[in-house]
């Protein structure tokens, strides 16, 4: 009973990426070079890491708005630790512990207190972005440990270490989601929480774990950022990172309603955003235009996602359209809809 190979779902967004990349390559001479490609990947790695973490959360049907704040928290915690004379690796450890703690808190409150993820993570976003400001009085803290710079500035051969790190994280998280029990549980909680619970899935564990993964990766992204600037900026990550990370995941096919999506898609989405911003930089388009263009890309991505959700509710796009034009009945699957529309009637 081996299935025929079908095209992966990510093929659509991947071809968009290739086309956009080629367009920029044709329009400028400096875009499609190895060094510029690595530069854009390096610049995109923070958003990509956040997007990967966000994917775990989105897959369960949640959302994590605190990832941007995690960047500042992580960088400042690392900087303060190193400033106090501790070795750089302890700075890394404390930074990751801090952002994972934020994730743990998010997960616990969301699961046990049943406050909507949007509210909880919105609140922790405020808290986690204030703490660095309070600790530093809004003054950036320089990092003196030279080894620390390797994270964001080091190279292994021609490849920036940060890009390599991103690749490793991407492969690892991809394997976790597609090949482990935990991964299956993440998808099942997002696909149908009640059914997953009845099938014996520990939904509490899944909820807490995905926000901790998201917290951890926002910590990694914060370290990357701090390492590139060699200081802990209390306002780092307060800009578009959060917005772009969710956008990357959604554009990459991760559903906002849970249960659908992949790391591959999220990474492609993040790279697409990196390509667009870098390409516009290279073409000397004012940076004010970037969020506008990326916003439009998101709009298209989310529209497609919504249509797909409509399809999941038994109405194909074509049928939805026809129904809107008043020509055809909407129901394509009467049998299964029966149990929903007529509870216990027959």
């Amino acid at each position: 009973m081996k299935a025929k190979r079908r095209l992966p779902d990510e093929i659509g967004i991947f071809s968009v990426l290739v086309v956009v990349y080629l367009i920029f390559g044709v329009m400028t001479t400096t875009f499609m070079t190895t060094s510029n490609t690595f530069t854009l990947l390096l610049n995109g790695s923070v958003v990509a890491l956040l997007a990967i973490g966000e994917t775990f959360v989105l897959l369960t049907g949640g959302i994590d708005l605190s990832v941007g704040a995690g960047i500042a928290l992580s960088g400042v915690v690392a900087a303060i630790t190193i400033q106090h004379g501790f070795p750089w690796y302890l700075g890394v450890l404390f930074a990751l512990a801090a952002t994972m703690a934020v994730g743990f808190f998010n997960g616990m409150v969301i699961h046990y207190v049943k406050v909507p993820p949007f509210i909880v993570t919105f609140a922790t976003m405020g808290v986690a972005s204030s703490i660095p400001l309070i600790l530093t009085k809004a003054v950036p803290i320089p990092i003196a440990a030279s080894q620390f710079s390797f994270i964001g500035q080091g190279f292994i051969g021609p490849i920036p270490f940060a890009v390599l790190l991103l690749a490793i994280v991407a492969i690892l998280t991809h394997l976790i989601l597609s090949r482990t029990v935990f991964g299956l549980h993440v998808y099942s909680v997002g696909g149908n929480r009640e059914a997953a619970r009845l099938a014996g899935v520990n939904t509490a564990k899944v909820d807490v774990a995905v926000y901790m993964v998201s917290g951890l990766l926002s910590g990694v992204a914060g370290l990357l950022d701090a390492s590139r600037l060699m200081s802990g900026y209390p306002t780092a990550g307060s800009g578009t990172s959060l917005f772009f990370s969710i956008a990357a995941a959604v554009v990459g096919g991760v559903s906002l309603f849970g249960g659908i999506g992949s790391i591959t898609g999220a990474v492609i989405g993040a790279v697409l955003i990196a390509v667009v911003s870098d390409g516009m930089d290279v073409m000397n388009v004012s940076s004010y235009w970037q969020p506008l263009v990326i916003g439009l890309i998101i709009l298209v991505g989310v529209t497609i996602d919504t249509l797909r959700a409509a399809q999941a509710q038994r109405t194909s796009f074509r049928q939805a359209l026809l129904a809107r034009l008043g020509r055809q009945a909407v129901h394509s699957d009467e049998k299964t809809s029966e149990s929903l529309t007529h509870k216990g009637a027959m």
Partner: protein
């Protein structure tokens, strides 16, 4: 009556997967008339109702509303034509007031502002006209289920409905609320000169409310008579039909008598029961005691709300056990959570499989393996080849049609149910709880599911508890049957000594 009927249905036919569900169904409803629609589960009531409400189109036949031929391509079409359906799950918006709900979409305005006072005044007028004592300023969320149903009926009326379809409106109500509802509906029909189709399976209510009665059986109208010209006995006869006749056509029944004769009750009295329940109490269950032996199928019968499903939820750790004792395989068992229940060898297939049965976007393989996945992993790493093999082995004898690697939502209802069976088999449970295992499944697949349930019990030696609202199905599949009523359970009856009518009377 010589008036133009508000609704006329002429020779409607509907087929699902080559199985006819409605055959040449015709009926008419006159203004001010209440027509009861009764029939078995699977007789075609719901399908007919959905066609009338515009949720589905018939394969052939005509619909006339107030003398005009209509085709509905959506529920909105039906509403615009004056056909309003009130389902069990209501469509009211709980945060809006009664008046706002009644006039939703046709609000009274003064200038650009909502004219709440006018809406409330006219709402009060209609409500009072029909003796419904509800404050129009009340938010719907504070109303009882019965009151909400009345609000929905009134809302339909205020939208100039000519025909109101009530789909088993009394299932969630207490008896005095039922009386209220019946009085009000009769009043609305008479005063408003609208036609009402009242779907029910309770003869008492039908007698209290209906002017005319239509009995559906196997998709066809077998009785269409005014209430005064028939008695309850006759109607029951028509609902049940010639049960023996039907059994001959059903291939699964040939093997059943043999199975019944060798039911474990006779041969293994000394054997310890697999499940022992003694004096169990919960929020809705009272003094439930029963036994299930290995290899036995115990049927649970009862009306909706009688506590059958609550008993399953209690056993599976979803509802708290207040007092009483439960033993599984001789060991004391206090259900705490689904995981706890699974660890005690209990598997549960829920009634609403779309709602809480499976993960729609995951594949058949993933869904089947989900509860048992811990057996196919090392350190969290899933051995996919082993999973594939195990699931395919389980699925093969079930004749599941569809690609096992594709999302489960692409399967048909019957195949989804088989998938859930496969999942249960893979769990290797001791005790299986099946809630309405053939709901929404076509007739062919039903017989197959019955055969699987019997085989499961006899070959694997597990105990099976089956809930079904279909008397015929329960009699076919069970060794013994227990009837639930208002949260209490009856003694167990040998299924082979029961008839459908007896069973139904026990539940009332």
């Amino acid at each position: 009556m010589s008036e133009v009927p508000v609704l006329e249905v002429i020779d409607i036919n509907k087929t699902y997967n080559h199985v006819p569900v409605l055959r040449d169904v015709s009926l008419r409803v006159d203004p001010g008339q209440v027509r009861a629609l009764i029939g078995h589960n699977g007789a075609g009531k719901s399908t007919l109702l959905r066609i009338l409400a515009g949720a589905e189109s018939p394969d052939s036949g005509l619909l006339k509303v107030a003398g005009m031929v209509r085709t509905f391509s959506s529920p909105r079409d039906a509403q615009n034509a004056g056909v309003a359906a009130v389902y069990q799950e209501l469509r009211l918006l709980p945060e809006l007031t009664v008046a706002e709900n009644i006039y939703l979409g046709q609000e009274a305005r003064s200038g650009v502002f909502l004219d709440r006072r006018t809406m409330a005044r006219s709402a009060r007028q209609v409500l009072e006209a029909h003796h419904v004592l509800i404050d129009p300023y009340q938010k719907v969320r504070y109303l009882s289920h019965a009151q909400r149903q009345l609000v929905e009926v009134i809302a339909a009326l205020e939208r100039n409905a000519k025909v109101i379809l009530l789909d088993e409106p009394t299932t969630a109500l207490q008896s005095e609320q039922i009386d209220d509802l019946i009085t009000t509906v009769k009043n609305i029909a008479y005063v408003g000169q609208v036609g009402v189709i009242f779907v029910s399976h309770k003869l008492e209510e039908v007698w209290a409310i209906a002017d005319v009665i239509t009995v559906l059986r196997d998709g066809g109208v077998v009785l269409d008579a005014s209430k005064d010209s028939v008695d309850k006995e006759t109607v029951t006869q028509f609902i049940v039909g010639d049960a023996y006749d039907q059994q001959q056509q059903d291939p699964t029944n040939n093997s059943i008598p043999g199975v019944h004769n060798t039911s474990p009750s006779g041969e293994s009295n000394d054997e310890e029961p697999l499940l022992t329940v003694r004096s169990v109490e919960s929020a809705v269950l009272h003094n439930i005691s029963l036994d299930v032996k290995r290899g036995e199928v115990l049927g649970l019968y009862g009306l909706v709300g009688s506590g059958r499903s609550d008993f399953f939820k209690l056993l599976y750790g979803l509802h708290p056990l207040l007092s009483g004792t439960i033993y599984v395989q001789g060991k004391s068992y206090h259900p705490r959570s689904p995981r706890d229940a699974m660890n005690h060898g209990i598997a549960y297939v829920t009634e609403e499989r779309k709602y809480d049965g499976f993960i729609p976007m995951l594949s058949t393989i993933q869904n089947v393996a989900l509860p048992s996945i811990s057996r196919y992993q090392t350190a969290g790493w899933v051995h996919r080849d082993k999973v594939d093999r195990a699931v395919n082995d389980i699925i093969k004898p079930l004749n599941l049609r569809g690609d096992v690697n594709r999302a489960v939502k692409t399967l048909s209802g019957g195949n989804q149910q088989k998938m859930l069976f496969a999942r249960t088999l893979l769990q290797e449970p001791q005790l299986v709880l099946l809630d309405e295992p053939t709901k929404g499944i076509d007739i062919g697949a039903k017989a197959e599911i019955h055969r699987l349930v019997r085989k499961f019990a006899s070959e694997k030696g597990v105990g099976v508890l089956v809930i079904s609202s279909e008397e015929e199905e329960l009699l076919t599949v069970s060794d013994r049957i227990i009837v639930f009523r208002g949260g209490f359970s009856s003694d167990a009856f040998e299924a082979r000594h029961l008839t459908e009518t007896q069973l139904r009377n026990l539940a009332l």
